[in-house]
């Protein structure tokens, strides 16, 4: 498979030549990828960007990093959510030798979005519904099962999972494995024996709620948030006591300040986010009670500031005409005290959402040289297409630059913090609005990025999709979808549907971009061997050079990859790389759910963009572990 790399300095002729090549081989399939330099939207300057920055670069704050013990105890690995491991046995010089060391069938054929967790020479894998947890013994050949835990969630919960019955991983803390089930139970099991220690029901499927996110443990609190932005839920983030499972606090995503845990400590940076009970007054009538704003994504933690960071989901319904107002606190980044849940600051990223641009993506905590000083920031590749660099102490947006093609908005006003909408892309009742970019899953959905302190780059897996929409009246029937939008997605400019962008946080723009034919719906992992691993929806697991983006190795797994790769040191001292293969999720629903491709609106319109997937991947559920010979 040919692969070409171009950088800014190669000039316009080079880019044109590359586009020509891309055009010729555009639909060649087989997971073909091309790396090329890419200009951010609206940036007309052609500037030089060396393959690896030699100047000042972003670093991981020490207090939020994880010890280099070869383990992987939570999906994001460290509290800064870098998904970086310093392990360097596998590197550019030898990765071509990488081969399968072990496989394991999860026994479930739905989308495998979880990260395998590695702690104390044991690997913990959670499946999609029915959420089996396997403990695999890494000390024995073939990774035999030490125990299996079956939480037996209600089968009916499958009816309130908007986008496949996925689960994004378990977390290890204090001798326990903590898991979420689709039917709204958070459960702690003994990591050694697999015995259930406690089980707490935190939500109700009859309100449209479900759990798909990976919990995060901070001190003695288990943080859990609900899914259901497509079911008119009232969103929340909840803390449970790690030892008992008892509810410690709940911060609602909508409603009066006392419910949102907004009190005297609350100091938003921007005037637009200040006021009393905005979670009620920014909605018509009682719509806030069914207004979404769940917390189904990623949580980061800064121990120095003692703040957790997470974003809330889209407001419900999708049809914006049914909810005039800013719809707070949907699509809002919150900084909260993990012990009390109190909000310390908030920034509504996308007010009055028009296109389902959930704000649940990961916040990567970094220290970045910026205008002569080191700023303590978080980086958020947002679904709305902008990469936000935000001061994690105050909520000030330092920049918000596009990392993909956008025409639904024109930018972010850094003075007011407000997203600027393009009027011609606003949905209108009964009218078809065409070519809205990005589409509903955004430039990037849940699939998490990684960061390497060695290159200073952020490795962002994402989509390149646009859509046509027609808004229709949504009726609220508890426990059923609350959407009100007919959607048809399609490939964005260039015709490719996925990208992996290496983002330079200091320069505030991409260093290079790999184009993938299919959406890149897997996570990425960055290693001390200067490699980045990711998977494609047709099953290729790839290693690329973290500095240049050049592909160094690939392996075809049994099904499409939408999981989160990890790397760890085994009991034998060798470095391993592991990933789950098994297509599904929102993007892979056409395969996992046997959907009919003749209906473009199937799976909320995603099927229209994925009609070829059935020919390129079948269902699966297999763990692959790779090692050098």
């Amino acid at each position: 498979m040919s692969q070409s790399v171009r950088f800014w300095w190669s000039g316009r002729a080079g880019v044109a030549a590359l586009l020509l090549v891309a055009g010729i081989s555009g639909c060649s399939g087989g997971g073909g990828a091309r790396a090329e330099q890419r200009r951010p939207v609206g940036d007309t300057a052609v500037t030089a960007a060396p393959p690896a920055p030699s100047g000042p670069r972003a670093t991981i704050p020490a207090e939020a990093s994880a010890p280099e013990d070869g383990q992987w105890t939570r999906p994001a690995r460290d509290y800064a959510s870098t998904r970086y491991s310093a392990l360097d046995q596998i590197n550019a010089g030898n990765v071509a030798e990488l081969r399968v060391a072990a496989t394991f069938s999860t026994g479930v054929l739905r989308g495998q979005e979880a990260a395998p967790i590695v702690v104390n020479n044991t690997m913990y894998v959670i499946t999609p519904f029915p959420n089996f947890v396997y403990a695999l013994d890494l000390t024995q050949p073939g990774l035999p099962v030490k125990w299996t835990y079956k939480p037996k969630p209600m089968a009916a919960a499958q009816g309130v999972a908007c986008c496949d019955v996925v689960n994004r991983g378990v977390v290890y803390a204090d001798g326990k494995i903590i898991l979420n089930t689709l039917d709204n139970h958070t459960i702690a099991v003994d990591a050694v024996t697999g015995h259930e220690l406690w089980r707490t029901r935190v939500g109700d499927i009859n309100l449209g709620e479900s759990l798909t996110m990976a919990p995060l443990v901070v001190k003695d609190k288990v943080l859990v948030g609900n899914s259901g932005g497509e079911f008119g839920v009232r969103g929340w983030l909840t803390a449970l006591d790690l030892n008992t499972g008892k509810l410690a606090w709940r911060a609602w995503g909508t409603g009066p300040d006392k419910d949102v845990l907004i009190g005297p400590r609350f100091h938003p940076f921007y005037a637009k986010d200040r006021g009393t009970d905005l979670g009620v007054s920014s909605w018509p009538g009682d719509m806030w009670k069914i207004g979404g704003a769940g917390a189904w994504g990623w949580i980061s933690y800064d121990p120095a500031l003692n703040l957790v960071y997470y974003g809330t989901s889209n407001p419900g319904p999708w049809n914006p005409a049914q909810r005039p107002g800013d719809n707070k606190w949907s699509i809002t980044l919150f900084a909260r005290d993990p012990e009390t849940g109190e909000a310390v600051w908030a920034y509504q990223i996308t007010p009055h959402d028009l296109h389902d641009y959930d704000g649940i993506n990961e916040s990567i905590l970094l220290d970045v040289p910026w205008h002569g000083q080191t700023r303590h920031v978080l980086l958020r590749p947002e679904r709305n297409g902008y990469l936000y660099m935000i001061d994690r102490g105050t909520g000030e947006v330092l920049y918000a630059n596009p990392f993909g093609y956008i025409n639904s908005t024109t930018g972010v006003d850094l003075r007011t913090g407000r997203l600027q909408y393009a009027a011609d892309k606003e949905p209108e009742l009964g009218k078809v609005v065409r070519d809205i970019c990005p589409a509903a899953p955004g430039v990037k959905d849940w699939q998490p990025s990684s960061f390497s302190p060695r290159t200073g780059y952020l490795y962002i897996p994402h989509q390149n999709l646009c859509m046509d929409v027609e808004s229709v009246e949504a009726s609220y029937v508890a426990g059923t979808p609350f959407v009100g939008m007919n959607v048809k997605m399609k490939a964005g400019p260039g015709g490719h549907r996925g990208e992996l962008t290496a983002w330079d946080p200091v320069a505030g723009k991409p260093a290079w971009v790999i184009k993938e034919d299919l959406p890149v719906w897997s996570g990425t992992v960055a290693t001390g061997g200067d490699l980045v691993f990711y998977g494609t929806m047709d099953g290729w697991f790839k290693a690329i050079d973290a500095r240049s983006g050049r592909e160094l190795w690939r392996f075809k797994t049994g099904s499409g990859i939408i999981g989160q790769p990890v790397t760890y040191r085994g009991p034998d001292g060798k470095q391993y790389v592991a990933v789950l293969s098994g297509v599904g999720g929102w993007s892979g629903g056409i395969v996992a759910g046997d959907l009919d491709a003749r209906d473009s609106s199937a799976a909320l319109g995603f099927v229209n963009a994925m009609k070829d997937l059935r020919a390129r991947s079948t269902k699966g559920g297999t763990l692959y572990v790779f090692a050098l010979p």
Binding site: A161, G430, D468, L595, R598
Partner: protein, 185 residues
Amino acid sequence: MTARTLRGVLALAAAAAALACQRETRRFRESPPAATSETAVAMSELVPGPKTRDLPIRNPYERNAYAVSEGERLFNAYNCSGCHSHGGGGIGPALMDDQWIYGSDPENIFSTIVEGRPNGMPTFRGKIPNYQVWQIVAYVRSLSGLLPKDIAPARDDHMVAGPEPQRTEALRPKHAFTPSAADHP
């Protein structure tokens, strides 16, 4: 023209009118096959012992274009489309293909809507009047071309998502009773 021929023409015209009436009729009082009990619906193809004779349940709405268009409207209003889209599926399975997990006969579909099914299909018992359920049943069957072409809905008023039921290829239903919770929501 002889009187005999005239009588024949008149009879033909009357028959045509009667048929057309059924296709177009709008009832003020609904009397759908609610009298037939949905509890008699079999969920298995395997019948032990000698074959018993099944009396097929007829859904008169399948001969009435207005009722089927009402079924389409209700399919959206009750959020069926939220999970099944315009027949292609999403959260729930596709309804325009030839795979029927819980049966394709009108009484099977009626029962699926009213009783719910274990892997995510909610029960609408007591939420939707029976005659509306039968209208929805007729529309659901039109999605895979099981209704006559002159009854099935034609182009709808919304963004074109797929082939309209009137032009959908008629697919011979295949019963796929697949109980696996993990495989079929």
